[in-house]
Subunit: 336 residues, 2 copies
């Protein structure tokens, strides 16, 4: 088989010999499985019953950051969207838009990072697409991952929150946003701050297997904790109160937020989920979640009420309270 | 509800208030359906049995061309990948990467064009994603569409070609490539040349309903007729002979090919499919295909043999013959 050039050329997206070479040497090698190898126009799968379907495009800059890269992010992001619906992440599609001249070594690193993140959930890449655009028409690399999987527990929904549900946050918030900010601004804070980027399926799977009746679950990506809680109060027509002193935020994120005037609750996460469960199972749910490295510092941060419907109330450590709103404007473009 | 600005801003991809506004005013309005409106992390669907799954990213330039636009192309392209597997196109995801400053009017036109193309197959957009990147980081607009659907007839495959199958081409080839070339070069040939861009499901559905035993089907996109036939001879370990005089090519495409030194068989199509069926049902299949406007000039162009396995032989009108190879290099970047 011919050798790949050191950089991606327009011909690698042309549908001919060079594209076949790129696909086989990089994508098929990393994602090897019989469905992908069948090389049909579409992957032939088999489902019985309720199935979840989701999509995400990733444009993060820089492509490599503390705690991950665009490949890990693309797999974790789509797997997490399925997991939050109670669906086992089974099959992913993977579509690349590559800028002419992109280093083949970097592409290989990113694709291998995707393959290793897939192992965390057992999902497989079963179909894909490759486009190459001329230099200057895209910034390096964009990845779309879509995903499908069986829904194991039905009814987990933004509309299912109920009075007296406890709100659980799976770990300290704001790490992904802060890590990208740090990478982009070239900050060297002598800090160990890394993105939270992670596959959350193992925790959701454990919760379902333990029979925890999950009302709502969502990973707090763009818009952070604030966006999720506000979406929930709107969709379920309830109120939520959260206690600032219970919401974990690490010192590095606090420091960056003070420096830039951000709220940690508005910053994006890529491996942090929010859960609404009935109060009486909240402690049990917390114990299950805390078994996993990526959610060892999970905490119960608040509860659902029917008083200020449509509103999220943040109670400060001094006992005063204010509304936590949906973020406005653009804090950080190309966060994911 | 607030008003949308005239151009897309970074905040429209931020996960907050502005993004909600863009999604509701443009995407939800055009793609309106209860699954999409549920606004969960993933769409909840229901499948029983064999299901096809496919993905495609679209980076075509220019975004608007004779016979279509990137929106029509994105829907038809993904629907066609499902259709060629014998799968009813049911659910599509839709993910936009938008350059800051992109005109909201153009976005609306493109999204409406997607909605109207969806009607041709009855497929629905059930989940989506929106990313906005700073000016200069992408060229206008890229769209990813992934799709899922029930497989109605199993076994249609690149591996299923058999000796004496007839090869049918659904219409004159090379139109999409030629139309993009014309648009890009600003050619005004006083011609009516339009892209073939079309949803092919109705023809595949009719063939299956008539009980035609389809061995292989593929839409001849990047790499054109040459790429499809070469993929087939490799995957099925057969030979294919096609007769140049039977392959329909319109005069405008012939003219452009002469001007630029292209082969019409290498040019991309976006609404043209190639079919392999047993010889004894070929005429019946042809009649069914010719009933549709988008494939009225379908033709039987060749047959499958076991002589020169792995090779596609093109017989010229003068009786000589040559191998038709997989295209090499990049004819036209950003064709789809």
């Amino acid at each position: 088989m011919a050798k790949l050039s050191k950089t991606v050329q327009l011909s690698h997206g042309g549908g001919g010999k060079e594209m076949n070479l790129l696909i086989k040497k990089i994508f098929f090698k990393a994602f090897d499985n019989p469905i992908l190898q069948s090389e049909e126009d579409a992957a032939a799968l088999h489902f019985n019953g309720p199935t979840a379907f989701t999509t995400d495009s990733f444009t993060v800059a820089p492509l490599f950051f503390a705690g991950g890269d665009i490949g890990k992010l693309a797999v974790a992001g789509t797997v997490n969207d399925l997991a939050m619906m109670g669906a086992q992440p089974e099959y992913l599609s993977c579509s690349f838009i590559i800028e002419e001249g992109f280093p083949v070594d970097d592409l290989t690193t990113i694709v291998n990072s995707m393959a290793s993140e897939l192992e965390k959930s057992g999902a497989k890449v079963v179909c894909g697409d490759t486009k190459v655009v001329p230099k200057g028409c895209a910034d390096g690399l964009f990845i779309n991952t879509s995903g499908v999987g069986h829904i194991k527990t039905q009814g987990i929904s933004v509309k299912s929150l109920a009075k007296d549900d406890a709100i659980i946050v799976s770990r300290d918030v704001g790490r992904h946003g802060a890590a990208i900010l740090m990478a982009r601004e070239g900050l060297t804070l002598e800090s160990d701050l890394t993105s939270d980027c992670a596959t959350l399926w193992p925790a959701m799977d454990a919760l379902m297997q333990a029979g925890i009746p999950i009302h709502a679950a969502r990973d707090a990506t763009r818009g952070g904790l604030s966006a999720v809680l506000n979406e929930w109060v709107q969709a379920s027509n309830v109120g939520i109160s959260v206690h600032e002193k219970h919401i974990p935020v690490c010192d590095e994120v606090k420091g960056l937020c003070e420096l830039y005037g951000f709220e940690p609750y508005d910053l994006a996460n890529e491996g942090t989920f929010i859960l609404a469960v009935p109060k009486d199972v909240a402690e049990k749910a917390l114990e299950i979640i805390q078994q996993f490295d990526f959610s060892a510092n999970a905490a119960i941060v608040g509860d659902v009420d029917e008083e200020r419907r449509g509103k999220v109330v943040l109670v400060t450590p001094w006992g005063s309270s204010r509304y936590l709103d949906v973020p406005q404007g653009e804090l950080l473009p190309r966060i994911c």
